[in-house]
Symmetry: C2
Subunit: 433 residues, 2 copies
């Protein structure tokens, strides 16, 4: 059994030269800045730090770039000049995620006492109803560029469906690995796209470990794992949340952003996107603060932030916010850096606070958030109440997915107002009007 | 207890004069053409026929109108000049439904042998993930125009959530009536928006009858029932599917449209929308054929069509396609008229055929359809196999909602490919690669 290193597949200069990922020029180590050719690699061979995509971004004509973007399609490909994708990406069959609604949340603002403007970036509007469609779409382009024929991932739900659907549209095979005891609804939602769906006897960490082993094995040859060997590209998809929020605000930065923390990748990439917009002159530079949201049942980043630590102590997750229940978040230290640098914070909330926030958002704005989204809005409320967020400032909070996918958390507290016989008398007796 | 007639609320000319519903000028009886002022009425006082909205539509400058539409928002309000809504409708808080994706379904076409072009109009992309958001949005404007403060409906699922969410965003109260024994997931999805949700001891017909009684009762004063006393306006929302399909095709008509039949309203209003586009010169006139899709477990329209009858014999529904399981469809006769006039047909399919079609669409296009959408695609397949639909013609099929809402139908046949231990040996033994 031949076990190859994870970096071997396209490590040769020849392979790298044939790769067209638009403005992406190399992989660069976040820790030691060592550079590597574009390839399906995610760990620095010098220092084992995480790799990220380096670019040669268009510069010098912000007005022209703004116009080019605004004339683009109503999906993430309007930002193709800023992403690791070929220029003709929009012409290839794909799910066309993104450009989801930025909702002016006036009723929620009134209820929370926000006077400076409050917005909900609602990523439940994506094709499979979570932000994962953004990141997977970029991973698909990397998979195509590297000649992979099977798209794979380890997942606890949202990602499995996003990978299954995206692979179908792109004409790739898919093989997705999940813990074998996931809820039946999540299994159906992932299996319906017809790719292979494999249950692993173990928890999410076991699934992840198995996938990392598979990457070095002949059985995994030709496979792109969105959140492992394609991770540097995949993560860049979250930058589009930053681009869209600023463009939808009229090409300007908000004062505050509240973002849920699973691995922490989304938060760090949104910050990266904002920095790019400033550097390119697409928005005027001004201070912004980034706040991270965790569930108390999985709060390693919040705990480290509050204790003043830089390192993250892993935890065993126990929360209804399962899509962000990552006990050992890879980007945790970077999240803490960003919260400190921007003057933001990291906060955590209990499961009942999450459920309350889901209901609050639903009854004020008609947006039904998944539990991760509930976490974000519960943290928003908590930080406003604590005086950490200034209600006179403009705030954007992100709903990363759809409440339809996480109904379990609500079943105890959400139901019928009354049950009546089909008569007017019975209705009046119920005392609802 | 005072029982008023359903037509009394704004039947006076004074009330009608204050109503601004844009190009809408009156209600007109579909049967006897009697005209009534715009108001919350749905039955002709002359002949008891159904009322529909009459317009004074913009004419004479199709190119200017096309430009105006294309410069409008990416939702149904781009068509405000053709809808019973005030001109400034887009500025009022609402869910902004519509302008969902029209997907070129090349992989599905290849599998079905379609060579003339096949498109999926995917209405799962609406805010609450079904086409109901379109019709409810129009009903909300009517409710506002008539001074209603509570939005109501009878529902078995999709409509309840659409009404609950739309009312919240519009700042209206809501009170929704459903059979008391609906699945818990549907109850949560409807209740989360915080309006009143009342379970009725009985089936959907009992719920409907109760709501009709409530309209004439003081307890229902100030209430707009989207699918009863606001029905003429509500129904018009389905015209936007016709507008969008033609605009997204580049302002032209397809050869064939496949549309699911519940009450039949959607199909008749799509035909109305196509006729308007032709009359206004927005598309070139040419023949098109409309096909209606039913589940065999609720096939009153299909049965009448096949028997050559004009009248519909009601049935007791028994199908997994619950959102179109209406045993006595109000618009059934009009559906048959349209199928005959356009050279289309009405066809029905079994529950297993519906499940197969859901999976077919998911594995070829990455679109997860609800059971009603599965019905549409199963009928498409059946009509192609029977030689009724010409594969060399261009066809558009509508997915009216999201598979996430109707998982039950799939639970027996959709699951894991394999369950393995987290080892490479165990994976190889599973024989998937």
């Amino acid at each position: 059994m031949a076990v190859e290193t994870v970096a071997s597949a396209t490590d040769s200069p020849e392979a790298a030269e044939t790769v067209d990922l638009g403005p992406a020029t190399a992989l660069s180590c976040r820790e030691c800045s060592a550079r590597f050719p574009l390839g399906p690699n995610f760990v620095c061979l010098e220092c084992f730090g995480p790799l990220e995509v380096a670019y040669n971004l268009p510069s010098g004509d912000p007005e022209g770039l703004r116009k080019q973007i605004e004339a683009g399609p109503n999906n993430i490909w309007r930002y193709a000049p800023l992403l690791p994708v070929p220029a003709d990406v929009a012409t290839k069959p794909n799910l066309e995620p993104g450009f989801t609604k930025l909702i002016k949340a006036d009723r929620l603002a009134a209820e929370l006492g926000v006077t400076g403007g409050l917005w909900v970036k609602d990523d439940s509007g994506n094709p499979t109803h979570s932000f994962k469609d953004r990141v997977v779409a970029i991973a698909v382009e990397a998979a195509r560029a590297f000649g992979f024929t099977t798209l794979s991932c380890s997942s606890t739900g949202n990602l499995a469906g996003a990978v299954g659907a995206a692979a179908v549209r792109a004409g790739l095979k898919s093989c997705v690995f999940i813990p074998h005891d996931l809820e039946p609804a999540k299994i159906i939602t992932a299996a319906v796209y017809g790719g292979e769906l494999v249950g692993i006897e173990g928890n999410y960490d076991d699934v992840n470990r198995f996938c990392s082993e598979l990457i070095g094995d002949p059985a995994g040859e030709g496979w792109g794992f969105t959140n492992i060997n394609l991770r540097p590209y995949y993560g860049e998809g979250s930058k589009t949340l930053a681009y869209e929020i600023c463009e939808q605000l009229g090409w300007r930065l908000p004062d505050n952003l509240i973002i849920p923390i699973g691995s922490g990748s989304q938060l760090t990439k949104i910050d990266k996107g904002l920095q790019e917009l400033i550097k390119l002159g697409l928005v005027e530079d001004k201070p912004y603060k980034i706040y991270g949201a965790q569930a108390k049942g999985c709060d390693p980043v919040s705990a480290a932030y509050k204790a003043g630590h830089d390192a993250i102590r892993p935890v065993k997750p126990d929360t209804i916010a399962k899509s962000i229940a990552i006990g050992n978040p890879a980007d945790g230290p970077y999240v803490i850096d960003i919260a400190r640098r921007t003057g933001g914070a990291v906060e955590d909330v209990t499961d009942p606070e999450i459920v309350d926030a889901i209901k609050l958002l639903a009854r004020t704005e008609g947006v039904f958030a998944e539990t991760a989204g509930g976490t974000t809005f519960a943290v928003l409320r908590k930080l406003l109440e604590a005086g950490v967020i200034d209600p006179a400032e403009e705030t954007v909070a992100i709903n990363t997915g759809d409440g339809l996918k996480t109904l379990d958390g609500l079943s105890d507290s959400t139901g019928l107002s009354a049950t009546i016989r089909p008569t007017l008398d019975s209705f009046r007796e119920a005392g609802l009007v």
